[in-house]
């Protein structure tokens, strides 16, 4: 398997040694985030920038919490461009990267 795209150290620190808590958080993450990701992509395809930015805003803390560092800046770009309704050429690439990395994270976390 390729290198992990996530880093659970923040979550583990938070858990204070409770593995049960870490597991329940991973479950919750896997339960909700894939749906949010799809919603964000749909909004992007429909050029509904406000909605896209709103969902990115919701996904952002999850990405932070699971230490998915490679898309820290991309998710913020998506959030801001959506909020200000100012899409640019880079947006497609950013959405694509968030999509790709998150899907990898889902896969890696499911096998844990």
């Amino acid at each position: 398997m390729s290198d992990k795209v996530y880093d659970l150290s923040q979550l583990e620190e938070l858990a204070g040694g409770s593995e049960e808590f870490v597991h329940s958080m991973i479950e919750t993450f896997l339960e909700h985030t894939p749906g949010q990701l799809e919603e964000m992509k749909t909004a992007h395809a429909q050029k509904d920038w406000k909605t896209m930015g709103g969902i990115a805003h919701k996904i952002k803390p999850n990405i932070d919490l699971f230490g998915i560092k490679s898309i820290y800046s991309e998710i913020r770009e998506v959030e801001n461009k959506g909020k200000n309704e100012q899409p640019d050429e880079a947006l497609n690439g950013e959405i694509g990267k968030v999509d790709e990395v998150l899907k990898t994270a889902f896969e890696q976390l499911r096998t844990l």
Partner: protein, 448 residues
Amino acid sequence: MDILKIFVVDDNELYSRMAQHHLSLNPDNEVEVFRGGKECMDNLYKKPNLIFLDYSLPEMSGIEILRKIKETHPEIPVVIVSGQEDVSTAVNLLKEGAYDYIVKDDNAKERMWNASNHVRENARLRDEIDKLREEVNQKYDFSNIKGNSPAIKNVFKLIEKAAQTNITVSVTGETGTGKELVAKAIHYNSKFHKKSLVAVNIAAIPRDLLESELFGHEKGAFTGAINKRIGKFEEANGGTIFLDEIGEMDLQLQAKLLRVLQEKEVTRIGSNQAVKINARVIVATHRNLAEEVKSGNFREDLYYRLLGLPIELPPLRERENDIVLLAKHFVDEFARENKLGKIQITNGAQKKLLNYRWPGNVRELKAVVELATVMVDDGKIEERDINFSSTSTMDNLISEEATLKDYTARIIQHYLDKYDRNVVKVAHKLDIGKSTIYRMIKNNELTI
């Protein structure tokens, strides 16, 4: 407060679970999680002590929910948690009554933790203040001045009148009648009760220090004035100043006091700047101030300025059955404080209490019955348990209000008993004629 009830309102389940987990590390926190504003509003009846509210919720915006919570439950602290740092939003939310504004970043959990601890500490302190204020109010409730006699009932009426206004009150009465209690009852039942009652006993403060004690002084105003000091009048600003034993104030200071009362401002010694004072003034004295004015010991203008609403406390001996009522009250109180069980006062003892003159008034009564309560063996205070320690037997003798003839007879009888019925010796001692004594014996006014 034992359990801090915390609501976390966030549609991001990950985040709310994290918050719940983190806050629950303190076993005294009880955390409930809600997905949206409506759910939160529907559960407000549970009276949470603290709400963490996500700013961007789907159905209602954070500010809307905040307003709704503040409308119905203004006392619940609401901390806004937001994914974005936005100073102007934060300022607006704080103006709308938010307790704090936390950004979801690395420090969020510490800040939530701190906020919950602050709220807990605040709630504990508020509980304590409420309890103490309640206690103080109860302590100085009118009903705590006991008595049913017409004399004391009239005093109650006057206290009530005084409490309703800001009129200066002068309390007079013998020592131990409860002048300070009256001052407290007025203060704690008046609109001044939220600020301090500052009591100054004029007789207890050395003459040279009194002026700076009352009016304060600036640093270096006189030798020994190392620091600036505010006086009792300034301390009492917005509250009540109680000047006990006002009759003991010397004439020079009386003039200064008059000026302060007239101008409603004080100037600290060594300062040339006056400070406005708004304080209710209550004075007390055991002297007859009108007499003091006549004999030139008290300024007439100050006398009228201070007279205000005069409240004269009746001496205990004029309060008839209040003596028994008060005695029972003090016995009960003392027995309760010392866990002595129920103690009664026998009829004989009651009679003894009623026949005494009480030069020390209620204060003396309290001391006498407390001592009696200690001496008691079988739960009953008997006549012999009551001992008067009054320094003046003369007072007691006079209190009987017998005729002079009767007193004369008793004095001579006392001497006759003391000197073995030696009429010559007694006549010499008392510097009266032998024939007077013989005549009184003949008339059966004396026994020999």
